[in-house]
């Protein structure tokens, strides 16, 4: 691979990283922030792969494998956390979590809060494959049977 080719990969990696960073800093939806963070990781991973290929050894590839593994674990934990946070406040807006500030600081008010999504009336039960999921009320009646 020539240096010119390498540059292209690096630009892609940098763009991915920058987009992820900007997304992380500006979006307030916690899931989006999480995705942005993942994007930054992928930007780095692209870099590593490119360098590995450029230098002709496998060091970078190994690191990328690590990144993928870490990202998988991170996804599991982060999504679980997001779920717990959501259950507390019924919103994904990260700016409602400001309690860890200094005691005499005022909370920062952003322009408008994210509207809580329409609260789903009911979560549907898992169904046997291929069957039409029944509504919850119906299930209750069915379960008695």
């Amino acid at each position: 691979m020539s240096p010119a080719h390498l540059e292209g990969y690096l630009v892609v990696g940098a763009v991915l990283f920058a987009l992820g960073l900007v997304g992380f800093l500006t979006r307030r939806n916690m899931i989006i922030m999480f995705l942005s963070a993942e994007m930054m990781l992928q930007g780095v991973a692209v870099n590593l792969v490119a360098f590995a290929h450029f230098r002709g050894n496998l060091g970078g590839q190994v690191l990328v494998l690590f990144i993928v593994a870490v990202a998988a674990c991170e996804a599991a934990i982060a999504l679980a956390l997001v779920l717990m946070l959501f259950r507390r406040r019924k919103t994904l807006d990260v700016s409602v979590w400001q309690e860890l500030r200094e005691p005499d600081q005022e909370p920062i008010e952003d322009e408008g809060t994210l509207e809580a999504e329409e609260k789903p009336e009911d979560f549907q039960h898992l169904t046997p494959a291929g069957a039409e999921p029944p509504a919850r009320k119906d299930t209750e009646e069915v379960s008695h049977v």
Binding site: E99, L100, R101, E102, Q105, P107
Partner: protein
């Protein structure tokens, strides 16, 4: 096991063990039996003391222990845990442990109603440990440590009933006033260490001083100041003018404490110290003169105050002051003029008086305690009277002690006081110039004081036990006499107070022990033989009898006479009654300026120093206030800062 050398360290160790047992186990496991370890320790120490005494008499050299056990070693300064026993120490040990045992037994009966029973016996045991250590010490550092230890125990025991404000105040006063003297002692020790051979062992210092004296290179001025400093320490502990004010107040403690610590043993530590340092004082005649004057003046002053006090224990306290003054007078009279070397006579007289005084004064205080016990803590002699029939045992034992103190012929006080008078008389006749005049004055002061002593002792006796029977309402209908556990120590001490003088005095047993086992070894060059002065004996007996007679006339034969005499000498009477206003003078001259100074210090501390500290404290606070907004709890803000920080770092790496 019972070799004298072993007993040497067991004497302080046994009471210490008793104290530790009481503090660790006794308080929880047998709080009602806490007197047992204390008494056992005291009696064990007493047995060991007797073994040591016999050992000292039979050996030719002093007993020593632990010369090699290093304690402190800094540069060329070293101090060992070394103990020694010569004639002086042996006498003191026997006296301290014997009286201590009796008083511990008495206390078991006296303190029975008190809830802090274990604390009392722990402190008494600790006191015996320190006191025996003090007399056993072979160097000044160990002596000083024990010296402070007895001061501490004295503080703890004066303030034993610390809920009582007057007791707490008395304890503080005692501690602070003696502390003042201790500073003097400490400076004296430093002078000795620095100038006389960089050693603190008694023998080394004494030998060095004598060598310098013989070689004619002794700095007399320096020795004089060393002696004065030592004497200041002694005066503080032994309550001599002007540091005497703490002892009368110390009577706030329980009566056995007054008997043991503030009459028989601890207060004699000063006398012991000066006697121990006779080889130094003998070479500093000016210091001796000061000691004699202080002693004589204190004896007279205290006797004058004692004459009008109505608190029985205070009369005894002032008489203790007075008798200690006598001892110092004797020590100060040990002058050496040409062929006449009185140091041996002087210390023998002082220590003999110390010995007999311990018996009769401990007895008097214990008897006073017994009166107090029966009268339910009333001790004002005007509130009771005629207790002869009510408290027969207390009456007879008190009479023995009082007669001994008054110097009635053939009782113990007579023999020892007579020796002191004889010493002063000799000093008057052998010294020349102004010193002769001063000793002459001191002799007559002492003689007059002997009369006063007889008078106030007899007065206290007559007011308490004679006249119409009068009981304070607190005592109830049937006051009880001393219980057996209290009566036995009283009777043993009474026998001692009556007999110890005639056994040891005219037979010269006491003198020969001190002479052979201490004086000849330590300062033979300051001592020469002496003879008994019969004329003096007769004079002092007559004076004592006159004193008792006047008291009898005033308080028994013609009870109204006392008041009329008092009103005729109203100004002197009031002066004596109010203790010559010493407390008030000190309050004005020392306490008040100190309080003012303390107030100024407090203001400076509160407003200047605290202000400065607060100002410096504000610096981080302001800084924190500036950067605090950074911590706003917003995740994305933190992320932004991290990104910016990383960017800045990368930029700096790139642009370098």
């Amino acid at each position: 096991m019972f070799s004298p050398e072993m007993c040497l360290w067991m004497i302080p160790f046994l009471p210490l063990l008793g104290s530790v047992i009481i503090v660790t186990l006794g308080r929880r496991m047998f709080p009602d039996r806490c007197h047992v370890p204390c008494i056992a320790g005291a009696i064990g120490a007493c047995v060991c003391a007797v073994v040591v005494f016999v050992g000292v008499i039979s050996e030719t050299t002093p007993l020593r222990f632990g010369r090699e056990i290093a304690w402190i070693q800094v540069g060329n300064f070293s101090a060992n845990f070394s103990l020694r026993a010569d004639g002086l120490t042996a006498v003191m040990l026997v006296m301290v442990t014997f009286i201590g045992s009796l008083i511990a037994i008495y206390s078991a009966g006296y303190m029975e109603v008190d809830e802090s029973y274990p604390r009392f016996f722990a402190a008494v045991s600790a006191f015996l440990f320190f006191m025996t250590g003090l007399v056993l010490a072979n160097n000044f550092v160990l002596l000083y440590a024990c010296w402070e230890g007895v001061g501490l125990c004295s503080y703890l025991l004066i303030g034993f009933w610390y809920e009582k404000p007057s007791a707490a105040a008395a304890a503080r006063k005692a501690f602070l006033v003696t502390r003042l003297g201790d500073i003097g002692l400490f400076i004296g020790i430093l002078i000795l260490w620095h100038n006389f051979g960089h050693s603190l062992e008694y023998d080394d210092i004494f030998v060095n001083v004598k060598a310098q004296y013989d070689a004619g290179v002794l700095d007399h001025n320096l020795l004089y100041w060393a002696c004065i400093c030592l004497f200041i320490g002694a005066a503080g502990k032994s309550a001599q003018f002007p540091l005497h004010v703490w002892l009368p107040d110390a009577m706030e403690g329980p009566s056995p404490v007054s008997a043991l610590i503030h009459a028989a043993t601890m207060v004699t530590a000063g006398v012991y110290l000066v006697a121990r340092c006779t080889p130094l004082f003998g070479l500093a005649p000016d210091a001796q003169l000061l000691v004699a004057c202080t002693g004589g003046f204190t004896a007279l002053l205290a006797a004058l105050i004692a004459v009008t006090q109505t608190d029985l224990k205070r009369v005894l306290a002032y008489s203790t002051l007075s008798q200690l003054g006598y001892m110092f007078l004797a020590l100060g009279s040990g002058v050496v003029v040409g062929e006449h070397k009185l140091a041996g006579l002087a210390v023998t007289a002082a220590i003999f008086h110390l010995f007999t005084h311990a018996f009769f004064k401990a007895l008097l205080f214990l008897a006073a305690g017994s009166v107090m016990h029966a009268m339910h803590d009333v001790i004002d002699m005007t509130k009771f009277g005629g207790l002869k029939k009510v408290l027969p045992i207390t009456h007879w034992t008190f009479l023995c002690g009082a007669a001994a103190l008054a110097g009635i012929p053939l009782l113990s006080g007579f023999w020892s006081k007579d020796e002191i008078l004889a010493t002063t008389y000799e000093a008057w006749h052998v010294s020349g110039g102004a010193a002769s005049g001063i000793y002459c004055l001191l002799f007559f002061t002492a003689l007059f004081t002997a009369g006063l002593t007889a008078f106030y002792t007899a007065r206290a006796y007559f007011m308490t036990f004679h006249g119409d029977e009068k009981l304070p309402p607190e005592a109830g209908e049937h006051p009880h006499d001393a219980t057996p556990i209290m009566a036995w120590p009283l009777m043993i001490l009474a026998v001692g107070a009556v007999g110890v003088g005639i056994v040891l005095g005219p037979t010269h047993l006491f003198e020969s022990v001190l002479e052979k086992k201490w004086i000849t070894a330590q300062f033979a060059h300051l001592a020469s033989p002496h003879s008994t002065n019969l004329l003096l004996m007769v004079t002092s007996s007559v004076v004592a009898c006159i004193g008792v007679g006047i008291a009898y006339w005033l308080y028994v034969a013609d009870p109204s006479a006392a008041a009329s005499v008092a009103s005729r000498m109203a100004s002197i009477y009031d002066l004596s009654r109010s203790k010559f206003y010493f407390d008030e003078i000190y309050e004005l001259a020392v306490v008040w300026p100190m309080n003012a100074f303390a107030f100024i210090c407090r203001v400076v501390d509160q407003y200047v120093l605290d202000g400065l500290v607060d100002l410096f404290g504000q610096v981080p606070a302001v800084f924190g206030y500036l950067v605090r907004p950074v911590q706003n709890g917003l995740v994305q803000f933190y992320a932004l800062l991290m990104a910016l920080g990383l960017a800045g770092f990368l930029l700096s790496v790139l642009l370098r």
